[in-house]
Symmetry: D2
Subunit: 337 residues, 4 copies
Amino acid sequence: MIIVIKDNQEKKQIENLTNWIKSLGLGIHFSQGEKTAVIGLIGDTSKVDIDLVRSLDIVESVTRIQEPYKNANRKFHPDDTIIDVSGRKFGGKYFQVIAGPCAVESEEQVISIAEAVKEAGAGLLRGGAFKPRTSPYSFQGMKLDGLEILKKAREETGMPIVTEIMSEKYIDAFLDVDVIQVGARNMQNFELLKELGKLKKPILLKRGLANTIEEWLMSAEYIMSGGNMEVILCERGIRTFETYTRNTLDLSAIPLVKEKTHLPVIVDPSHASGLSRLVEPMSLASIGAGADGLMIEVHNNPACALCDGPQAITPEQFLALQRKMDVMLPLVNKIRS
Amino acid sequence: MIIVIKDNQEKKQIENLTNWIKSLGLGIHFSQGEKTAVIGLIGDTSKVDIDLVRSLDIVESVTRIQEPYKNANRKFHPDDTIIDVSGRKFGGKYFQVIAGPCAVESEEQVISIAEAVKEAGAGLLRGGAFKPRTSPYSFQGMKLDGLEILKKAREETGMPIVTEIMSEKYIDAFLDVDVIQVGARNMQNFELLKELGKLKKPILLKRGLANTIEEWLMSAEYIMSGGNMEVILCERGIRTFETYTRNTLDLSAIPLVKEKTHLPVIVDPSHASGLSRLVEPMSLASIGAGADGLMIEVHNNPACALCDGPQAITPEQFLALQRKMDVMLPLVNKIRS
Amino acid sequence: MIIVIKDNQEKKQIENLTNWIKSLGLGIHFSQGEKTAVIGLIGDTSKVDIDLVRSLDIVESVTRIQEPYKNANRKFHPDDTIIDVSGRKFGGKYFQVIAGPCAVESEEQVISIAEAVKEAGAGLLRGGAFKPRTSPYSFQGMKLDGLEILKKAREETGMPIVTEIMSEKYIDAFLDVDVIQVGARNMQNFELLKELGKLKKPILLKRGLANTIEEWLMSAEYIMSGGNMEVILCERGIRTFETYTRNTLDLSAIPLVKEKTHLPVIVDPSHASGLSRLVEPMSLASIGAGADGLMIEVHNNPACALCDGPQAITPEQFLALQRKMDVMLPLVNKIRS
Amino acid sequence: MIIVIKDNQEKKQIENLTNWIKSLGLGIHFSQGEKTAVIGLIGDTSKVDIDLVRSLDIVESVTRIQEPYKNANRKFHPDDTIIDVSGRKFGGKYFQVIAGPCAVESEEQVISIAEAVKEAGAGLLRGGAFKPRTSPYSFQGMKLDGLEILKKAREETGMPIVTEIMSEKYIDAFLDVDVIQVGARNMQNFELLKELGKLKKPILLKRGLANTIEEWLMSAEYIMSGGNMEVILCERGIRTFETYTRNTLDLSAIPLVKEKTHLPVIVDPSHASGLSRLVEPMSLASIGAGADGLMIEVHNNPACALCDGPQAITPEQFLALQRKMDVMLPLVNKIRS
């Protein structure tokens, strides 16, 4: 960490600052220019509160050299982490597809979709039992009954299941889930992250709507610092000024995050746009950008009049998309696991 | 709600949509132009999933007429809600100041600041016992011990206390807190909001970093739909592209939110900028914009070398600011309670 | 356009509004609900100032049904526009690559790069003669001399040239340029757009840093309403809160813009990230998203110590990337022209 | 400027970089840690292209110590600049109000409003003769005829006039305007800024919709580096994800910009919200934040049915607002000039 001191500050105040830094167990490299003084901090600065230092009246600017995350940092773990979920691998040379309905609605619905996406080559089954909804008046999901349905679908198809947890109070009910998903709105629900850090179970951590890449990795670090090293990152769109799309899928984040961390990074193209016709182009774009996998909503309900165009694609569209993916994967040196 | 249909759609698909709308118990007003058809929905549309409708292939655009929030909506409750916390009033003609340290560090610290801010005219005492921190390696607060210290300070000074809850698992410990604060990162922690809705206790709901005014009011609605009508809204800055400030304090939100809702709206000027020297101008600006109160960090620790310039102001600066506020309040037709 | 009136407004005020609408030559469809009145406007609403209507005290909300752009609108021109620049085609089934150095530095540099990118299969040569720079102290380009160098490179290689104009006062000097580029910062320099609308020459219109898709299409409309129908749109990244990347490449915009307009849409992956190692993944991602072409910076200066890693890729990297593109193009039904 | 080098880079590449820095006439302070090397640049770094350095493969991060602007920098000009426009002063202890109609529509309209705002205490008259409009189909202003009307109003009332220029080709026509305004969309129209830098005439420079404070000051620097030191900055709202307001007025920018620069900073509260009822609260908020003045739209057209609620306030509302300002100004140590 490098601290630049404002011009013409009192020596006493600079000393106070350097003494405080030393009291944290850090070394100091002090360099006094003509007017500007620069303090270099030597040692593990991950515990230094950068916002506090930045707010000091004598400080002009502060720059981190060392990232504030360690377990998630590729510098300390150069090799890709590969996470194995009952044989379905995430990371490294592997490309993985999670597919299934947005919300669990019935056993029949889930099993029918599960069979279709398995047939088309998906590795894991997704489905929402607990649904985070902006409005208290919207359907909040089938909750524990939904979890049971997912487990039955797993039994029928052999596919591991991925589903979202919304509070640490449900952790016991999720112990039998294969991959626990943390939604965008809970990315900084630190109490939840801490509890997930105590498990030995893959966590799929979605990026928050307005969270930087660094904050995202710090949330992964919360889980990892508790001892659970199996974190799969999932980009799902960020909030910008543009309103034609619901969110802006930040695909430039993919190669950058993969430079910073050894964890696998997948993309959810369904939620960002909210439009099913964008799922195919944004899936291919994600592969081009270097994603380690995709999470795709697939819906199949011929009885429902509304299903001609929801944000989920049909099993037929999913199958066609899978075949296009197969052509693209060699270009980015990826194979199915 | 008004749904505009794309040009030249099949009659069958439009019928499917109108039938689905009717199945929700809503009436229809259909108007067919030369090429474009427009469907007006009649009745309580708060349960209609606007994102689902928007994602349909035949739909060009959807506009809400009725806001999706009811309890929080000024249309249905034209008079300002006034929330009384042991005689300290929020809302209507009243202006209220909450002050205290960022984090609870010791009994001596808290009581000394409490006495100073009370002397300067603050109505309530704030202090963080549980601290939401981006990094798992940062100090996470004194937790339950911190709560005890706040209660002692209340005993000593008679000031009601305001402090942040980070998980519904701590609700029992917070039952004796006067105002429970929900932090920006938990604004859409819906499980927490639901639990707070069951209490009879004022909730201070901070706006999320990247949440719209409508989402903020929907989170208030979560609490209110559970039966707890005492919600105080708190603007604390939103995330934008500007990096000179930590966040951008959205003061234009104040008069707009007050048009939309009858709930009191206060401002936290300390966190948005992260700079103590901006607290005074942004406090006066908040009053100009029509805020119902302020939450201000005050720090007092002569022993600490770093305290010459943290993001909190000193008790002396707080006192001077209070006197300036007194001059301004009549301009905006506000009085201290 | 649909105008929703606030509840309980005076009849006189609503009449004033409807009379004003009629005075613009538009028809009215008035629908009075229990409390809310809705006014539908019939006819060509592109001249109605939506911001003015929105600001009226009696108006709750306004929704456009008809887009405010006509010439650029796919509704009125369903077929893809194909722009032919000396045989290099943009749009429809064609995929086109523009490549060259960021700034024109010398004849030798430009010709050497031009030959290399032509060899690798690029269709057009790019190069900046006039450089928009945030700082007045930065190199502002070789200007008119730079234009001459580009023309010489065209003579040598036969490649049409693409270069940026920064003011309408230079239009005469640009009459011999094959494609005139409007930079992101000038996307809403309306005086410049009007002058370009008078030419018969393809215009490459970059999206502004913080401009919506609708504003981008309105700027195309400025050019087209002057009579120049040959506009190529170019996405180059938008400004968001994320600071790890210089800008966020908005690839979800590609399929959406192509729904809204018949104009070709290409992507500039070099400027968004500012990092040469992101050029390849973001190029492949752009193709996946459905782009009609790419504009890529290529640099070749073995004498320059700094050239081990600028934001431009080397001719060798460009060649390798071109071969990967060739594999991908059939997947998105595109061919080279 | 401080450059942090990535771990384990080749010595040769670091040497290339340091040699290049030296070739720019700068000194080097090199510090090699255990793994990380840090290079401090000594001298005038305003000509160093920070984006180029940041893009180098061996570079981890770059931090400016010295701001890239000089003439606009308070460090080199600690005293407030006071700009005198025919006796109306901007900056220092002075508070100035510019008022008038959005667009010039007729001589009668402009003179009538001019007289009203003069009576209420406004110092300068504003009015748009050239109007930047998103749509080519919207009214583009009375142009040169509008300028003549403004000059007549100046003759009648003695008020200096402020009006917007949209292209350098009109500079001759603006030589007799008292303050030339550069609109938000032209903040980075560098060719225009350069021409304005050659004049001896105050320039009112609005902040771009999505421009950082640093970019804004760099645009002021463009004008000042040409020799014209009279720049008045004007905050008018930035683009964020929030859609309830048209833009988000960034009042936290005011005290920060005034720390960074000696130039006067005023606020335009009318355009940010697009709602006349927000003009009063946001004006008072701007004064609280420390603005050196306000630019306010005032409209007066009893014959127009639409004028019950445009984004401009009436002369009566303006008068009432002026009286509230008078009460507030002593609080922020400001006087009218």
